[in-house]
């Protein structure tokens, strides 16, 4: 795996090119921990399997996980922030719609 700058053991980089890492156990809001060499305080609870920004990510910048694009930022994101539906979206243009029943097209 990657030789990245010091990162808390509860966070996992899946590829050295990633700008997000994955929580491998739940981490509570308010915890201070190192991510990619920078000490940050978590503003939200991070559930198991969720993504955390590993560095500053600008609006419209590509989110990289597994070493590949998985979408793009819809706002500026700071290291240690949860990365999910509220601050990123899919770049894939679906040929069909999803999850109709809640009135949304499911494409975030």
């Amino acid at each position: 795996m990657s030789e990245l700058a010091i990162t808390d053991s509860r966070l996992l980089f899946l590829d050295p090119r990633d700008n997000v890492c994955t929580a491998i156990s739940p981490i509570a809001s308010g915890v201070s921990l190192p991510i990619n060499g920078k000490q940050v305080v978590l503003k939200k609870n991070i559930p198991l399997g969720f993504k955390v920004a590993a560095r500053d990510i600008a609006i419209n910048e590509t989110i990289v996980k597994y070493g590949v694009p998985i979408g793009s930022a819809t706002q500026d994101i700071s290291p240690g922030e949860l990365v999910h539906l509220h601050n990123m979206k899919s770049d894939y243009l679906p040929t069909y719609t999803l999850d109709k029943e809640d009135g949304h097209d499911g494409q975030h």
Partner: protein, 402 residues
């Protein structure tokens, strides 16, 4: 890698070698299913497996699948069980098996005199065939002759973090040694098509890789089935391409050398994509009604064994080829330990690295190829399903120049 890689296999007439030497009892229509099962049942622990096709009306895909499975290298003998009036072309299937050098016979229930007489006759044939197969010997088998398939089922948020990338590392070890590795689920590669295309051996293949995913997206769209459920987001997955990447990571990082369809035998070693989504307009329903439909197709392409990634905890195995369970989620592993072969969830708990679990997957598959039983084999799992489908032959740009 660790341990000896020395393999031995049962040499078949077509040059392929099997890591098991099973008898396949095959029903050729649902009406013959009970009789075939009753023939096979007493021999459950002696390598006699039940497969079959339930449909009464002809289907070229099902015929081809049955022929591929009955001449699979893990199969040494085949007993066909026909009711007598179904459409399945039992004569050409029997001829194909006979030409392949295997023991074969066909029992027609209507001609044999009904259920009881056919069961008695079938069991006697299996008993004498098993005795004849006792003298079958194994010959040295090169790793280049091994074919491994992968599938995921019962996925959760941990699958794409632990088990799937660990399988990808094992796949990289296999392809580096010129073994054949097959991944599939084109419907779960939606969003990965352009990344995947960059790994194509030729520009023509790159176009084909994109095309099969576009085909899958259209097919699923017509069925009205979404590929990103609400539960995915609740589990921490944000986008369709993120979910797809989790599944895609099973393929590892080597070059993709071809696209095959069910029943195609990869012509060389290396990494292949199995296109499981039917061609043409949507007909006959879902492409794959469950995980075993995909496993049967991987086996029909010659897979000697299957690497199966699960997060929520699938228990299935398969007829004909051993299934190795790589459990992604440590909590599931603790709950269902007996059903699992590898605990990839250790990566989440910090007690193993991804590289270590990748090596373990490789070691377990080599031990299985050398004869060790998997968890699903030892528990007697021999699931099998085959449905109606339609495929056109693979195009010339899908396969490497042999």
């Amino acid at each position: 890698m660790t341990g000896s890689t020395e393999l031995h296999g049962y040499l078949r007439k077509d040059g392929r070698k099997g890591i098991r030497n099973y008898v396949a009892v095959c029903y050729l229509v649902e009406c013959a299913h009970h009789v075939a099962r009753a023939i096979a049942n007493p021999f459950e622990e002696r390598g006699v497996h039940l497969i079959g096709f339930g449909g009464c009306y002809p289907n070229a895909y099902a015929s081809r699948m049955m022929k591929s499975l009955c001449t699979h290298p893990n199969v040494g003998a085949v007993l066909l069980v026909s009711l007598g009036c179904e459409s399945f072309d039992r004569q050409s299937l029997e001829q194909a098996v006979r030409r392949s050098g295997r023991h074969v016979d066909t029992l027609i229930i209507q001609q044999t005199g009904g259920t009881r007489k056919t069961i008695d006759k079938g069991r006697a044939w299996v008993e004498s065939t098993l005795a004849a197969m006792q003298s079958d010997v194994r010959t040295p088998m090169d790793l280049r002759e091994l074919v491994v398939g992968t599938v995921c089922g019962g996925s959760d948020t941990t699958s794409g973090i632990t088990a799937n990338p660990a399988i990808g590392l094992a796949f990289d070890q296999l392809t580096a040694q010129h073994a054949t590795a097959i991944f599939e689920e084109t419907g779960e590669l939606i969003g990965c098509e352009h990344i995947m295309a960059q790994r194509a051996l030729t520009p023509e293949l790159a176009d084909e890789l994109v095309a099969v995913v576009v085909k899958a997206a259209k097919y699923y769209s017509t069925l009205g089935q979404g590929s990103f459920a609400l539960g995915n987001a609740e589990g921490g997955l944000t986008t369709l391409e993120e979910k797809s990447m989790g599944a895609y990571s099973k393929s590892g990082s080597s070059k993709i050398c071809g696209i095959i369809k069910p029943g195609d035998i990869p012509p060389t070693g290396g990494l292949y994509l199995l296109d499981v989504v039917p061609d043409g307009p949507v007909r006959f329903g879902f492409p794959n009604i469950n995980d075993n439909a995909e496993i049967a197709e991987l086996i029909a392409c010659g897979s000697h064994l299957i690497l199966f990634s699960t997060g929520r905890g699938s228990v299935v195995g398969s007829a004909l080829s051993p299934v190795i369970k790589i459990c992604a989620n440590p909590q599931t592993y603790r709950r269902m330990t007996d059903d699992m072969d590898v605990n990839a969830g250790r990566i989440l708990e910090g007690s193993a690295t991804l590289d270590q679990v990748g090596d373990e997957v490789y070691d377990v598959l080599m031990a299985t190829a050398r004869g060790r039983q998997t968890a699903s084999e030892s528990l007697g799992h021999q699931e099998f399903v085959l449905t109606y489908k339609y495929f056109e032959p693979s195009g010339p740009s899908c396969l490497p120049l042999a």
